[in-house]
Symmetry: D2
């Protein structure tokens, strides 16, 4: 079959690779019908993720048709249309049993397109298939479901739920890329009084409005602090979600809070940040971090099936899977192209 | 001044009564600009609430202008426009400090129009004014705020929050009177996948649709159980809110649940109900009861100010305060008149 | 091999039965080194549990040595000493993934000694072995671990955790049988100010004292209400755990509460109970039911390993497995013999 | 009367000062029978707290007898023995009503011995007396209650409760001064499997053992990381409580955690700390800060009354109030004198 192979820093190619084979009772082989490119894939391509070796088929997000399953797989079978989670769950370790497969100790976690071959290919193998794939209900399209493989659960679980968004809150989301937009869409599920989006790109801020932000601030030209203070009786935001991953934006996130606020970090950080404990030690704040577990996928599928969320809104560009090179190009120039999620279909 | 006086079972009159006087440092006198009639007032009139004595001015819901305050009142003053909570909070007892003034041990709780003169009058006295009234923000009308005195917090706190409604839930509300409708409106704040309203009056079910129910069942003609099963993969509802107050509807509420569900009783009961522990002991259900505390008023005011809820939708009839007799008449024939909340203004 | 076979109402025998065989990738065969008799086994013997067919090997609690595992079993292997949970977990269904295998939809739940052959035998087969057995740490005896198969998690999860026992609470436990005692021991983990045990047998009340009750009430001679009122400033108990399973004791449990209290039902009920909603609708109470999930086993093993709980205290009688007839006799006359848990070893 | 007056950096004196006077309806005058010196008082003396002006009577912890109350005070009266909380609560602002008077917006918070005259004096005035004092139950001594004015609630609320200590947890407390010891004592209320105390003073570590630590590490000679790893199957601590207030100890606290852990900062920080988000962003950690609210005082009084905690253990030195100079000396040389809390009585 053909797949998108990582060939070392700066290089990838759409290449002939061996077909995946069932090697464990819990494996499933999926014929990929929809996949996409994640910001993490660009990091890998830049050589920032040394645990990804040359020759690896990339990609950790897919919808497809089950082709074959191992003897131990009970809940899916050939012909089923399934969503593949970006996180695989062994199902038996302490963290999986506590609902946190993102921390899996039994061989799962983020492995697809990382330590195992991934989903940007004609076929992909999913380990621990019973606990790592989800039947897609009739009436939900591949495109809608695909956004639930990673983007939407990340914004929702690591942002909205960890921050404990409540009705009436003033929620600030710093960074309006795909995950920031997912946090905005997810925050709206809890009826905050205001959602403020902060970014330095107007194009992203326009997208933020479409996703549910009612206040937008371009922080390359406007200081967001007075804006937030004005909305909150001078107190500061109830909740801030950091979705950039820079020391500066993390410190901004903390600065925008009211006493008693929650700050959920969703951004991928490469450097340490400063926590101003000399100011914050009395302020009763809570800071959280985390990797997505995707435990929210079944619930998000229910919301899709009942038309309470519209995830196809994330898809800005569509390509045939074979044209994945163009997809990478569009995503890597997102500030120009306005790309959020690209859809690759076969 | 004039007020609506309870004259014993079956009798009330719009009468001359003494002006209220400040008798405690924490009192405030309010000039009533908007009040309404509650289902509880009808119970009182029927003689069902013996703790209400003849001569009592009725009413526990109001918006008005502060006329005068006691020396100990810090947060409101003459001229302020305030919402009067149906529950007064001493602010110092164990339950008030834990956020439950509905259980106040220090002289508060439901006292207005009950053990103290109430708000269906030109003026009313509010005890513990600092913790029992709320400034109404500019941009929120009297009518919108009035619904937050009792109806909306009751459906929201005792129904939605105690039941722990979560995104994606299938929520059933049994009873589509004002409080049931408040529960429906409140449940929608958490983005359930479906809200099912059950009532035996089609007129109320039509209202339920306006308030956010997407499925309605007239249980005098249709068994709701198969409807709920069909929506939930045969499991049953995640959440049921009982807003009628009859043994039958309580038992129905329990019967509609999935294993692991929460049942919040909001209905006012006059008789015991049967809890089928022989079926339920293994089913991991949670049943809650409660009186409103109105701790959610500040949050609901923020939602009103940011136009996230539309409480004026509850107001079906409008009268001059002096025509309160007509208001009682309309409310007492609600099934005919379709009355939800009547607005009485001065 | 030999096992304890149910032969229809009133009859059981220690009989030759076929050795269990691996029939599923997820199965494990355990050589039983310690098992016990549960109150539920007596119910089965009386014919109260029709889903148990004649010929069934009884027993759902065991510690043993893994003899053989199916190809799909990853976390245990031959020679390992494991605790077998009374609840089997498929690990993949909605309820298992949410931490509630007691409600398993995938073939688990309470199946051992019920719909599948159980553990009162020389060997037993455990389905879904990865998620239904636990390695016993060195330093924890078989006897100590055995109590964690059912008794202790039931009192702890369905009683203590569902009731939300908090430091300083006044906790009442109605019924001082094995599960009531487990609730007392479990409640003490949260440092309540008082634990009141209620029973009509003085012998059980003496045991309750050993397990952590500081106040005991024989309710065949003393009304517990004034006792509880005196301990709580006339308010009533913060938490009541019902561990009997009769309509009367459930109603007593509700009557002993303060406003705002939580009542956790652990008792096995055969009849409906009355819930006095006419009194309780304003009292802000929470009533819970449930079957044990055993999610607390890993934590309880940590407490055993660090000597924070002493579960061997439950074992009042010890027999050789072949003398299981005597064990049933002792347990069935518990009020005379003072039996709590019997230990059967091989 | 006489009181302990701050006379600018480095200087204090036991001096004649005017008797406190009721100036607000909510005030109470207390005749101080027991007070103490807090680490914060030493900070003030060093000039580190510029909001404390010269001439201020210091002290924010006291037990005493009510001498006189303002007209608006309802719950205490002359002759009552009361505990004065270190935090005053206006009772009406958003944060007070949400249970967080440490963030009071209405004139409370930490004001005693800070912006108002305090309790190291023969008499002290308490604002908002109804919500800022607590009746001491018979059977609880002044000395036992005094520790509940600040030390014990700080360790319990800001450390133990914010960190969410659960049964079976491995809890690490960094810093074994009075507040660290309160965190250890408070953590034991939830039955952790192990409590590890870390300090660089052996004398403090010996105290930590008395307060409930079962493992002690002198981190000037031993790296605590391998110790914690050995206790936790190489995962790291479930909970870490930072009770020092230095950048290094905060970073150590984060480093000792397992994925999914909670870190509660209790230490008073004067400098920023580094949060290593480049390592922590995936690790699902929660960091909290906070000032004590003292909402736990009523519960802690219940625990004292039922002899579940022994707070007199904190008192290492006793003086007559007039000898407060000696008390300051002993506390300021705590590493030499082993002083935890000094008791000053009159």
């Amino acid at each position: 079959m053909r797949g998108n192979v990582y060939c070392g820093p700066g290089r990838r190619s759409w290449d002939e690779v061996p077909d995946p084979q069932i090697t464990d009772e819990a494996d499933a082989i999926i014929r990929v019908t929809a996949t996409t490119v994640c910001g993490t894939d660009l990091h890998i391509l830049r050589g920032d993720v040394p645990s990804v070796r040359q020759g690896r088929v990339l990609g950790h997000e897919a919808v497809g048709i089950v082709e074959q399953v191992g003897d131990g797989v009970r809940t899916i079978g050939p012909g089923d249309r399934v969503l593949v989670s970006c996180v695989s769950a062994c199902g038996g370790c302490r963290f999986c049993r506590e609902g946190h497969p993102g921390l899996c100790l039994g061989g799962g976690g983020w492995v697809l397109g990382h330590t195992l071959d991934g989903m940007q290919a004609e076929f992909g193998k999913v380990p621990f298939a019973d606990t790592s794939t989800y039947q897609v209900p009739a009436g939900v399209t591949d495109e809608e479901a695909l956004i639930l493989a990673d983007t939407m659960p990340t914004g929702y679980e690591v942002g909205v739920l960890k921050a404990g968004v409540q009705p009436g809150d003033v929620v600030v989301v710093v960074g309006a890329g795909p995950v920031g937009l997912a946090a905005i869409m997810g925050a709206r599920l809890f009826s905050p009084s205001h959602v403020v989006a902060i970014d330095h790109a107007d194009r992203r801020l326009e997208a933020a409005k479409q996703f549910g932000a009612d206040v937008i601030v371009n922080n390359s030209v406007t200081d967001p602090l007075p804006v937030v203070k004005a909305l909150t009786g001078r107190l500061g935001a109830d909740v801030v979600i950091e979705a950039v991953g820079e020391p500066d934006t993390f410190e901004l996130a903390v600065r925008l809070t009211r006493p008693g606020a929650r700050i959920a970090n969703v951004g991928v950080h490469g450097k340490p940040a400063v926590l101003h404990l000399e100011d914050q030690w009395t302020r009763d704040i809570t800071v959280t971090t985390g990797l997505v577990d995707t435990y929210s996928i079944p619930m998000l599928l229910r919301l899709l099936a009942s038309q309470q969320i519209e995830t196809s809104r994330f898809v800005t560009h569509r390509f045939d899977l074979e044209d994945i090179g163009q997809a990478y190009d569009v995503v890597s120039r997102a500030s120009e192209t306005g790309a959020l999620k690209v859809l690759l279909t076969k």
